[in-house]
């Protein structure tokens, strides 16, 4: 499979934008966030008890968002803006090329960076606003916002970096913030453990990234994006001989290494285990860091280095691994999500699953699809988390969907319910009206048309159904049905005499969310609709996201797909399809390799050649078109099943709130039929235990063994050497008998010995 791709991929092309000098004030964006962090630190030091830290951070992040937007508006899409702030690490050991090293603190702004920066700062501001209310009354208020602001700073560094090392700074920086914020409730051992786990698992990925970085430096002599991508564009390495990249093993090895980093940060299959545990952190953190922004850094990295991932002429080990791992992760984690009861965890697994989609999208050459999904996912997943957070906040930390029911009917919770529904619809991919539907669809369609990607496509399709099911399982159980709730273990309000308020809440009164939470939820819900609008903006040119991605290093023109631009509603597309349909792949036609954007290939006949040979037709239709219908149907089936098993349909009624029993649902009756599978899924397929058994325990044992060796063998050897003189002394002591003649005999013996030596050697 690896070998087959290069020939086919000959049609692909990466695109490198010319660079211009960007506005110097761009550094204000990260610095504002950093200033927020420092300000919160000062508040912490001065023991400020008011909400001042929150307002400072919201204000500064808001300004940062505005600045970002201004920068974006002023950006000429035909070029990448480069801003150098100062030289961070610099060293030289000669005058010729490659004999110096210069890692700047500088920015490289192209479409990809702008896209990420816009939603990072935007969402950051919104979620900070949400947190200002959510975190109210907590002792570490200022500490939370310090970490929050620091996160935005790190993320900005990651995204805006103009070189891999600064990206690495951001990469580790977001990891740190993730660590600090997951461990925010540091008294909880589980939170501390989760934080530690997140950092360490991420570090494993970071090692891959660092090695990839080193290899990049060694190969190209630079890690500066503008120089790097210029070289890749020319297809040569950085040495004097300009060795063609297609002849170098590094060309496929670098992506493999970078990929490891991306898997760590974006919680993909071998390294995903930290993300579910990361839900120990405050919900705004889960929303911002562990759903919307940080975890998409891996997608960003792969997209950023897409020219190398999809470099023609070398085997695409990395690309295929990304695709397969993404697809399998998507499926795998959705099976776990189906069996969980903790709604935040379900969301966490769904995040992993959706990240899997993004990676699968990258793997099947749809950078636009992946980026679009990142973008839409950021909004609706943040929305879902924040809604969950509101529930958790209101019900004293209760997250178990078996103990919550019918919130729709509880006063003050309507906005939460509605926004939750919108989020769920997005996640489930309810057709047409949700942004999630369009972006997910783009990826699946691309999978079917990319040679070798069909299986990925089927997996993703299956996953889409599962996703719809578990999403609406949550919704039906928590928000619909009879009113019933129990407070969580964080309920310590003394004025309510007893804690366990069964059936309608007895003495427990959930406190409904305030204006800030509601506003943010509403804004996010609207944004997720607005994302559809953006999707259709400038449609012929690929839409908002497609445009941005097209104007970046990820602007890869796949020979197979019509991602972004084409869909069933695009009439021009059908006409284009009709043009050249039966060109054989063995005779690849010339293609517009220098094309700048992904938008203009509607007129290009090449892609359809691939359809004929590889993707083939699904239900007699072009896969792109077919996918709109199929995925819609699959999604709706999933929702239907959820409704039958957990929702109103299952209990015989069609209306909302007709489920009579809160704690049980029809699904529970089905469980015995599944045997141990359900239990395994509930225990997350025992992956944590498996890692424990396979890695942690042996390492721990090894450590103990090393410790013992160090104590006994290494140190023992040293101590043994130290004992040597003493042992010699005690061995010779009997000769000191105290008898005078004994000593005299010794002297005589010595004299004899001396004379013998003299005689022999002289």
């Amino acid at each position: 499979m690896f070998e087959s791709m290069p020939a086919l991929l000959g049609a692909g092309s990466a695109d490198v934008l010319p660079t211009t000098v960007g506005p110097g004030w761009l550094w204000l964006v990260p610095i504002l966030a950093l200033a927020g962090c420092v300000a919160c630190g000062l508040c912490l030091a001065m023991r400020v008890r008011t909400k001042a830290p929150a307002w400072i951070v919201v204000g500064l992040l808001g300004i940062a968002f505005v600045l970002t937007f201004m920068g974006y508006s002023g950006w000429d899409s035909a070029s990448a803006q480069v801003v150098k702030v100062f030289e961070w690490i610099g060293l030289s050991w000669g005058d010729s090329a490659g004999q110096s090293l210069s890692f700047n603190f500088g920015f490289y702004m192209d479409g990809l960076s702008w896209l990420w920066m816009l939603f990072v700062t935007g969402l950051g501001t919104l979620i900070a606003l949400y947190a200002s209310e959510y975190m109210q009354g907590d002792k570490g208020y200022a500490r939370f916002f310090a970490g929050f602001a620091l996160f935005v700073f790190s993320m900005a560094c990651l995204v805006m970096a103009d070189n891999l090392v600064l990206l690495y700074l951001g990469w580790e920086g977001v990891g740190l913030c993730s660590y600090l914020l997951i461990g925010y409730f540091y008294k909880k051992p589980s939170a501390v453990a989760a934080a530690k786990k997140a950092f360490i698992v991420n570090r494993i990925g970071d090692l891959g990234l660092a090695l990839g970085l080193f290899l990049t430096f060694v190969t190209f002599g630079t890690v500066q994006y503008d120089e790097l991508f210029a070289l890749i564009d020319q297809g040569v390495a950085g040495d004097m001989a300009r060795t063609p990249l297609s002849e170098m093993w590094q060309t496929w090895a670098i992506p493999l290494l970078l990929m490891v980093g991306a898997f760590g940060k974006s919680a993909q299959l071998p390294l995903y285990v930290w993300l579910p545990d990361a839900m120990e952190g405050p919900t705004p953190v889960s929303a911002l860091i562990h759903a919307a922004t940080m975890v998409t850094a891996g997608v960003y990295l792969v997209a950023r280095f897409f020219p190398l991932f999809a470099f023609e002429g070398v085997p695409h080990y990395a690309l295929w691994t990304v695709g397969w791992v993404g697809a399998l992760t998507a499926l795998f984690s959705s099976t776990i999500a189906m069996a969980q009861f903790d709604i935040k965890r379900i969301m966490a697994y769904s995040t992993i699953s959706q990240l899997g989609y993004m990676f699968a999208g990258l793997g099947v050459l749809s950078t636009v699809g992946a980026a679009s999904h990142v973008f839409t996912h950021a909004f609706f997943k943040a929305l879902l988390f924040l809604a969950c957070g509101a529930v958790m906040h209101g019900f004293a930390g209760q997250l178990d969907l078996r103990k919550l029911s019918g919130l729709w009917s509880v006063p003050g919770w309507r906005i939460v319910c509605v926004t939750m529904l919108i989020g769920c619809m997005n996640l489930a991919g309810v057709p047409l009206i949700t942004a999630g539907y369009w972006s997910k669809d783009m990826i699946m369609a691309e999978a079917f048309v990319t040679p070798g990607g069909q299986i990925i496509g089927w997996i993703l399709l299956l996953t889409a159904g599962l996703t719809a099911y578990y999403t609406f399982r949550v919704f039906f159980r928590v928000f619909v049905g009879p009113v019933s709730f129990e407070p969580g273990d964080e309920h310590h309000d003394d004025e309510h005499g007893h804690d366990n308020g069964h059936g309608g809440g007895g003495g427990f009164h959930p406190h409904a969310p305030g204006w800030a939470v509601n506003t943010v939820l509403a804004v996010l819900a609207l944004s997720s609709f607005a994302a559809i609008g953006l999707y259709f903006t400038d449609k012929p040119n690929g839409g908002f996201v497609g445009n941005l991605v097209g104007d970046s290093t990820a602007g890869y023109v796949t020979p197979y797909g019509h991602h972004g631009a084409d869909d069933g509603h695009d009439d021009a597309h059908a006409a284009a399809e009709g043009d050249v349909r039966f060109v054989l792949v063995a005779d690849p036609p010339a293609h517009a390799s220098g094309d700048a954007t992904g938008g203009d290939h509607g007129a290009d006949g090449t892609p359809d050649a691939a359809h004929a040979s590889s993707g083939g037709l699904i239900l007699g239709m072009d896969p792109h078109k077919a996918m709109y219908y199929i995925s819609a149907v699959v999604g709706l089936i999933g929702i239907l099943i959820a409704a039958v098993l957990h929702g109103p349909l299952g209990m015989g009624g069609l209306g909302l709130g007709t489920r009579t029993e809160a704690a049980r649902s029809k699904a529970d009756e089905l469980l015995p039929a599944l045997g141990p599978v359900a239990r395994w899924a509930q225990h997350k397929w025992y992956v944590d235990e498996f890692y424990d058994f396979l890695l942690r325990t042996p390492l721990r044992v090894l450590s103990h063994v090393f410790h013992a060796i160090d104590k006994l063998l290494v140190d023992g050897l040293v101590n043994g050497l130290g004992l040597l003189p003493r042992a010699m002394g005690s061995a010779l002591r009997p000769s000191q008998s105290g008898v005078l003649q004994g000593y005299a005999a010794g002297m005589a013996g010595g004299l004899v010995l001396l004379l013998v030596i003299v005689l022999i050697f002289m």
């Binding site: 003649q741 005999a745 005589a748 013996g749 004299l751 004899v752 004379l755 013998v756 003299v758 005689l759």
Partner: protein, 337 residues
């Protein structure tokens, strides 16, 4: 060994000597001491005999004095270590000293020969005798002749003899690489020292009537210049330097004009030294001691002083004895009234 003596023979003789000494050492029961002594002395005698025979190949008469005193020295030394009674040992040691001093004389060290007798035999050994008598347990009245156990028999005589003669074998192996000649006796106390003794020369010269010389020390030695006669008398320290160039009498010190500086003074004149003018052994040793090793001499003095102080301090020390020990001592001393 250079054919001086066959190594096998040497080692055989030494082994014999060792066996002899081992036998001669005192033993509790059957102790054929005389037999051992004979064997040992025979072995040594054999060795000296061979040496003497080898030396006589040069055609000179053997010096019997040396052999006699050597045998006496060795024999009495043997007796020192074999005699069970300490007093006799000390007396035999005096004999060793005496024969040694004779050997010193043969070697030309007259002063040391007599000093040895005076100091060793006269002073040190007498002290030993005193101490032996002081420190010996008084023999009990019943058995006046019994020895104390530690005198009666030796410790590990065989091993000790083996070790001693192994050492001896090594030493002889090293030294018997030839028969190096000793220098002639008459040159041993060379008159060259006269150059260092201007007073003595002056006195001798004036006794001869050669007065009026001004003695000045020069680099070569002492020059005595007679301003009136323009004669130059030079005592040369480095005699050997002139041996090649000048005829001289058996009196080593020559009277002549030696160096360029003296030539400028006047005509060559030389005369025989006065008959009595010479340097003897005592003067030589004295000069060597005083002029060559003044610091060592001082230190030796200090050591002696310290030894004296130490002896005084040690001897003054009172031993605190317990009641039992006191009683025992009283019994030992024969009191007990």
């Amino acid at each position: 060994m250079d054919g001086l003596i066959h190594p096998a023979l040497l080692y055989l003789l030494l082994a014999l000597g060792g066996i002899g000494v081992a036998i001669a050492l005192p033993r509790p029961k059957f102790s054929p001491q005389i037999l051992g002594a004979l064997i040992a002395v025979g072995a040594f005698g054999g060795l000296f005999l061979i040496l003497g025979l080898k030396a006589s190949e040069r055609g000179e008469l053997p010096n019997f004095n040396f052999y006699i005193f050597a045998i006496i020295a060795l024999g009495s030394a043997l007796r020192v270590i074999t005699h069970p009674r300490p007093v006799y040992s000390a007396l035999y040691f005096i004999m060793t000293i005496l024969s040694s001093s004779a050997l010193y004389l043969i070697a030309g060290a007259e002063f040391m020969a007599f000093a040895l007798i005076i100091i060793y035999a006269g002073a040190i050994l007498i002290t030993y005798l005193f101490v032996i008598m002081l420190a010996s347990q008084s023999p009990s009245e019943q058995e006046p002749g019994t020895l104390s156990a530690y005198d009666a028999f030796a410790r590990e005589p065989v091993w000790a003899s083996a070790a001693g003669f192994a050492l001896l074998a090594l030493l002889t192996t090293m030294m018997f690489r030839g028969l190096p000649e000793m220098g002639p006796r008459n040159q041993f106390d060379s008159d060259a020292l006269l150059a260092q003794l201007p007073g003595k020369v002056d006195t001798a010269l004036s006794m001869e009537g050669l007065r009026g010389f001004e003695l000045t020390e020069t680099r070569e030695g002492v020059s005595a210049v007679d301003p009136a006669h323009q004669q130059v008398l030079v005592m040369v320290t480095d005699v050997a330097a002139f041996n090649g160039s000048l005829e001289h009498s058996e009196r080593v010190a020559v009277l002549f004009e030696p160096g360029a500086r003296a030539v400028a003074v006047g005509d060559v004149a030389w005369a025989a030294l006065p008959e009595g003018l010479g340097v003897d052994n005592i003067e030589n040793v004295g000069w060597e001691l005083i002029a060559g090793h003044p610091m060592a001499l001082e230190l030796a003095g200090i050591i002696l002083l310290m030894a004296m102080l130490g002896a005084v301090v040690l001897a003054r020390k009172q031993i605190e004895l317990g009641e039992d020990e006191k009683a025992q001592q009283v019994i030992n001393l024969g009191g007990g009234s």
